[in-house]
Symmetry: D3
């Protein structure tokens, strides 16, 4: 199977890190395509960044459908454009926040999320509610790092994230940690070994869930509200995104 | 005060209808600017349409900030880009779904929503949950009309919507109706007179709520997660949307 | 339009303060009538005070209906008698807790409430749940002042309230403050300027929401459970409150 | 122990019926005092009736405290004035809606409520939410009888209520019925025998719960928000209700 | 009436303590049978202990049905096997966690639970959610004592539990305490006197609730999902537990 | 990796069917061990059956730990003993209800559950709440078949289940079906092809989720409430289940 991992921001080093995590997680028969869009924000740290990044995500889904991809992972912890992407794709699509939370709920009765910026906590909080995870999420914590600080080898980001995870384990009554940024995709093993608890990182979790869905023959439901978008004209320089008529391929 | 009403789709007849409702609702001293984006979908009937329409909404907020607008109404029942728009704007921003639901909860112990397409019901359902309106929303109903059918003077859309509203009043135990599409902005009075219940339409409700906020001196909080988006580069043909450094003007 | 602002307690200085806030908020064409009942508690600090105060509120609604009032604001943060008042009135009725919370949810992703007495927090908590605001209310705080301390020019109440609001902004992850007592109606501007966040005060918010509803032609729904109370005899010295037969005026 | 059963309306035949149910339920050592207020509505069928009835309830609690009552049952399905009554009383206070729902949740995984008027359903719905019973209450049904029709021996009220209960058992997936009006206090046994399911009636349930609390030595907590109301003046012809200073008797 | 109090663990000293509390609470006419199973864990401190203890609980219900018991109390704060026991029994069954929480919600607007081990908090948390008590439970606290430490007269367990209850009253905004272990059945009076708040202990609460249900003629509903288990073979050394065909005795 | 699939009932034909589904779903490198306990109920159709079946599940987890199993699937839609099993196991454990619901929520915005007996619906309902799936589960339906009817090749069970799934798709507004019984493990493909929607069956979903967790290196958290059960004596013929002291192997 061929699955596509979409980094919704345009920073190549982060795409590389995400790709490494995805490839490490993938099963032998899985072809992993990793990409980032050609347009959009360098990092996603606000609702605004996230909203604009959706265009790039949809660009990549369009390309993926043309290339015959069987499933997709949206590799940003805000899961930008998730439902729109599901409408566009024949196969399944998962976001890494969704993937990480679902997986964490299977190995602990509660988890805490550790993310980068304080202002991003609200996005995670909204996803926790939307995904039905309120009974499992103990706390959402931020280390007050910019996303791209995670790309700076000279920063103390790893130490600070590990320390915040340790505080979560001590104070929150949680049994597992969810890492709240795709830029932390390389840290799960390290922190898990240091703290002795499961640490869930969404890129690898997302890859496995997509493999799960594809191998079970489960595609996005085209019955009802995730059906292909109805064809119509789009104006201006977004006209290239206009949905085309599609034969239902349920 | 100057307030801007943004039709997130690019259909001029709908913008005109929305504008008429907005102008009719506005107080004497309010300057109403009505617009639609230059790029984006002709109508919004899927998560995909909605996701792409956000770009046009943000375009218009950017322009509005430059033009000194004091507040904004996003005139599509999915409230596309609401939180992103709030980050961008100094003044307040409301969506028409949000406006209509809040207002309806003040005149009845429960309301039903009547929208166009069946597949749009899920968007309304997600907003009901996000806005804390689960205790007030009795049911979400669709008449299975395309959005642009509302623009066709020859269609029987008015009759069908009225009929669905009548069913809601009979069967749902609701005391009020919320019209679930900006294209129904001209129908509230008519249906209310026929059915003898309050019928809330979001464009006029949104105009009044923005006037309320502006006249109370209440702007979008720039403390925390709705602060201006941090400045950073955006790639490709979306680079024009990159957030600029901004002096905090709280 | 003529709107009536009802201070449910019988303390004249508080009525005056409430009146000043209401008048300052009202639009040019709005006639504001401010009153307090002739019977009932001097201040509302318990469920018991609140329960008894409802009689005075209903007295004033009865009078208001006779005087042709178009809408009402119940100016105590417990919103005493709100649903009963809605049954009695043709026009809309809002409580200041309800008004403030709805408005605050439009300018921030979360707010904290700052009220007077610790024992009043439970009333605010019950309203937060009833109004669907659990997802928006970060914390309810009390400064342990009696309500009438707010009327004492020699008290340090303003400083203490401001300080508690500052703590809320620092610790609660909230973007806005809701002032939890009608006696704080004069403090919103001051505290907002000091803390740099929106501070919502319910009297002015309530006035604007009633203006909103009246100007939209939205009255309390007389379909279903907010219909006029059925006529029947009342015994003893409450017989004057007995509902009379009323022609439906939907 | 001496417990007082308060019918919040002023209809003597209903008080008699409530009294019979209470006496039948009481344990040998329990002295049951049954009463209705000297002022207030003849029946409670609206939020307005309910709000006014609270005065009579509080009158009777005041008297009960002077007479040394050990506990109270508020015998109207809206539980009018429950928290205010708890503040006033040293001993425990329960409402019959509260009592019936708690008890029903112990003998079935779900119950339906059958009440009189359609417009009363909303009050039951609000109590279901406030008492945490949303997971247990399957449906709230009304037979569209006025409360005092239950007092008319010539009416077909018993047949209609029984029929509605039968529908609930068939259609709602409930294992028990809660009767939603104190005026149905004589029907539980009859309907239970006919339908073969537990039918819970709040007056007897309330008597047993008060006996339970009193015999366990559990009084209303005077720590925090149910403490005696602070002493203060009340104006006008409600001045007699003003709370007096009270020595804490925790 | 004859009621059976089942200590789900096999520690005789704890059974004795539970029995003393039950007998002290029972009404004159109530015959109290106290027992523990002949098989199962010495104490219940994990989901695993609890799961295995259910067998012993069901053994005792089987015996109780043969002996003509009218109702049952399951005297462990995890309420092990509650719904299974209800299926088996003609009469009512309550668990002590359920009993204590329901009772506490009648005398305070909020309670905190104080239990033994930190790891047991999650079981209490799950019960709080299942019983609809989320709006009432302020906090769940543990003193980090093993259950059988409560049986050791030389331990400082009473002091530590009292101290934790005191912290709950100070910090949690609760008006009552729920003791979270059957082994604390002898402490409620003592702690209540020391702290001046209602302290609810589930064994006595459970006895009174069963007396309540039995005297109201309310048995477990045999309509629907708590009907007697369908007869069928069980394999191996659990074959003795196989449900026999039963004439419905509704 | 070696994973163990536990059919909690003792019916061999059902174990065989479950095994076939598991083997078909497993990845090349996965060794699948399928078993049923030597003691316990022939089928699980009541809370009672489920409670007793937990013993057999725990027997098999004990054996699995001795045999070096890396993860477990509990193959009954009530997920019996899930948290107890997690305490006992080093590796991950998932139930098939949990697995199916999580997976279904990734391919549709809502699903309906189709199970066997009406009385089993309540168990599914409780799991939906416990797993946070209330926002996704549209309806729980039963076909009123006994579990072992699914094993009877002459029954019309397949037709009836398919028909109920068709009704769900038509009436419930769901985009996917969750099959609510392990005995339906062979029907997912068939029904999915007939109805054109994703049909999720928990055995295969559980196998893939366990593979996911194991390959991600995620074991059950031994920090906090899922730690190995504390060692202690068990009495009687359950003494063999007593937890032994265990070196933490986190």
């Amino acid at each position: 199977m061929r699955i596509k991992i979409i980094n919704p921001n345009t920073t190549a080093s982060m795409t590389a890190k995400i790709g490494a995590a995805a490839v490490a997680a993938a099963a032998p028969g899985t072809e992993v395509v990793v990409c980032h869009p050609t347009r959009g924000p360098a990092s996603i740290e606000s609702h605004y960044d996230e909203a604009v990044s959706v265009i790039g995500v949809l660009d990549e889904i369009h390309r993926g459908e043309a290339e015959g991809c069987d499933g997709y992972v949206i590799a940003c912890f805000g899961d930008p454009g998730l439902l729109a992407a599901r409408e566009l794709a024949r196969g399944p699509v998962v976001g890494i926040a969704e993937a990480a939370m679902h997986v964490a709920s299977l190995v602990a009765t509660g988890f805490s999320i550790v993310t980068t910026l304080q202002r991003s906590c609200i996005m995670a909080a909204h996803l926790v509610q939307a995904y039905g995870m309120s009974g499992f999420c103990r706390k959402i914590r931020a280390v007050d790092l910019a996303v791209l600080d995670l790309e700076d080898p000279g920063s103390d980001s790893t130490a600070r994230i590990t320390q915040e995870c340790a505080l979560a384990v001590e104070q929150d009554g949680c049994g597992a940690i969810v890492l709240g940024c795709a830029g932390m995709a390389d840290l799960a093993g390290l922190i898990s070994r240091q703290l002795g608890v499961p640490v869930v990182e969404g890129v690898s979790a997302g890859v496995k869930l997509i493999e799960t869905l594809v191998s079970l023959g489960l595609r996005t439901s085209k019955r009802g509200d995730l059906d292909f978008p109805p064809a119509k004209p789009y104006a201006g320089d977004l006209s290239g995104l206009a949905p085309k008529p599609r034969r239902a391929e349920r």
